[in-house]
Amino acid sequence: MKLVMAIIKPFKLDEVRDALTGIGVHGLTVTEVKGYGRQKGHTEIYRGAEYAVSFLPKLKIEVAVASGSVDKVVEAIASAAKTGQIGDGKIFVYSIDAAVRIRTGETDGDAL
């Protein structure tokens, strides 16, 4: 099993969710995060003090999937989240040893 973690632009959430639903992924977890990268922030000025705001709002999406479907999932997220503009975000994939559904106690594949 793998966990796919994607950092995306906030307004792309609905499209990504739809894309995942489209390929049969029906569970995911979203976190509001702030990203720092190549995309430039902006300057905010408060009473004479200028601050370069370099952390931009992003969303982190985490989806646990069976190892076999990782490519499909990454592909789906990547194309739904893409605008072609700088700051579109990243996708990281890592392995998970185990998964449990709390309600039923089901594990691994059944837990997703």
């Binding site: 905010e44 000025i45 408060y46 009473r47 004479g48 003090a49 601050y51 705001v53």
Partner: protein, 482 residues
């Protein structure tokens, strides 16, 4: 019908003979009408209502107005501490006011009368539902208790203005002690020096010298100040500057992002300040007549003009018109028009607003950065600088030739409210003397008081507490648990 003329004794040529002083300040309503023997005037209920309402409006300015305006500008972790400081200061000063504050400000001080009043009305002795005080029109009075309330709100908001200077780092107990001392040694005396005089009845029926002899020091300079530009704004602004210097910068100042945690709250606060300020300015007329209306329109247009001026200058200088700029400009306009409210004409007020918007913008951005002090919420830049601009401009804009209302000379026409002669230099010099007196008394006095409190209990919280935020460390609460 109007406010009060001045004995322009700064100008010897004019001081000769018939020129008799009268009120210089809109809020003097000193001598209880009881003094007027023949037929004691009765309050007009329209006036009484207007003063009741004005009093309520000034409370609205303070809580929640000022609390939100300031609170929105600090970081989340200090929000609650600012709300707390403003609220508790206001409550504490209200109690002090009825115990001895009103008496120190608005009674005859005997030998010290040039500087401060006495204790004859401590605990509001002798003040009841039947006593009255004079307004600025001969023969027009309001219930004394209304005047006590109205002035109480001024005494309550002024020290609360100061907290902006050292927000996010002061110890709560030290703040309370400092403010208790400050109102006693700085505010009540200045209020007395600026606002205490023998009143229209006396001034209309006595020679000028007698009137002047019975007035506070600053009043006797002949400076005019409609609603408290010196007593409230310059006073608070200077104390704030001294405070910012004495306490030093916040940890992380100039390095960490200290963006306002909620400009929404700041805007609510600014709106309520504006709304309440009509009580402050137009209420200072003490009477519901055309001059109250004049003070009202000036308080509208100077504010609007200053907000726009700040916005456009910022737009040009920094590329964006910001809400913080508009709100700051509006407050700068309100501050500047305070001394001028019942004296300037509407067009003069527009010009005043435009000018002060630009000047305060420069003060709060370039000058503060250049000098490097950390006046957290720009109390000096807005109230101090704006107050001084307004006080001096009032001396110019009162000129009837510029659409101003002129200054009443009570010795003319039996005190009917006729304006006296106007001389630019005389008036501006008088204004400057009034400003200077306030700056010196406030600056020196507050410096001493800060030092005393620092020795007694220490002014600042520890760095660790400052980092964690005053909300949790000083008050054991957070503003938000969302």
């Amino acid at each position: 019908m109007k406010l009060g003329s001045v004995l322009r004794w700064g100008a010897p040529a004019l001081a000769a003979g018939l020129l008799v002083a009268a009120s210089a300040y809109a809020q003097d309503a000193a001598a209880p009408a009881a003094a007027a023997a023949p037929a004691a005037p009765t309050p007009n209920k329209g006036d009484t209502t207007w003063m009741l309402v004005s009093t309520v409006l000034v409370l609205l300015m303070t809580i929640p107005g000022l609390a939100l305006f300031y609170g929105g500008l600090v970081r989340t972790k200090n929000m609650l501490s600012v709300l707390m400081q403003v609220t508790v200061i206001a409550c504490m000063v209200m109690i002090i006011w009825v115990v001895y504050g009103y008496s120190l400000a608005f009674t005859d001080g005997g030998g010290l009368n040039s500087f401060v009043g006495g204790f004859s009305k401590a605990f509001l002795a002798g003040v009841d539902v039947t006593t009255t005080v004079e307004t600025f029109s001969r023969g027009v009075v309001i219930p004394e208790l209304v005047f006590v309330c109205f002035q109480m709100t001024f005494a309550a908001i002024t020290p609360a203005l100061i907290v902006g200077a050292f927000a996010e780092r002061i110890k709560f107990s030290a703040l309370l002690l400092f403010i208790a001392l400050w109102v006693t040694f700085i505010y009540f005396p200045i209020a007395h020096m600026v606002w205490w005089w023998p009143g229209p009845e006396f001034a209309s029926t006595n020679p000028a010298d007698a009137t002047v002899a019975g007035a506070g020091l600053s009043w006797s300079f002949g400076a005019i100040d409609f609603a408290g530009g010196t007593v409230v704004h310059i006073n608070a602004g200077i104390t704030a500057l001294v405070g910012a210097l004495v306490l030093g910068k916040r940890v992380g100042y100039g390095k960490d992002l200290m963006a306002p945690h909620s400009l929404t709250m700041t805007l609510i606060g600014a709106g309520l300040l504006w709304v309440g300020w009509f009580g402050f300015n137009a209420g200072s007329n003490l009477e519901a007549n055309g001059y109250a209306a004049l003070a009202m329109i000036n308080t509208f247009v100077a504010t609007a003009a200053a907000a726009l001026a700040w916005m456009f200058v910022e737009w040009m200088a920094k590329g964006h018109p910001s809400l913080l700029g508009v709100a700051s400009g509006a407050v700068a306009g309100l501050v500047a028009v305070t001394p001028a409210a019942g004296f300037a004409g509407p067009m003069g007020s527009v010009v005043l607003g435009l000018v002060v918007g630009v000047i305060c913008f420069v003060a709060c951005t370039s000058i503060k950065n250049a000098l490097g002090y950390d006046d957290s919420l720009d109390v000096f830049g807005v109230h101090g600088v704006g107050g001084i601009v307004g006080a001096i401009a009032t001396g110019i804009l009162v000129n009837p030739a510029l659409g101003g209302a002129g200054v009443v000379d009570y010795t003319l026409d039996g005190g009917a409210g006729t304006a006296g002669a106007y001389d630019l230099a005389t008036q501006v010099i008088a204004q400057c003397k009034g400003v200077l007196l306030t700056v010196v008394w406030s600056g020196v006095g507050s410096f001493i008081l800060y030092k005393i409190v620092d020795v007694l209990i220490g002014l600042r919280v520890t760095e660790e507490k400052e980092r964690e935020g005053l909300d949790i460390t000083e008050h054991g609460e957070r503003a938000y648990n969302m």
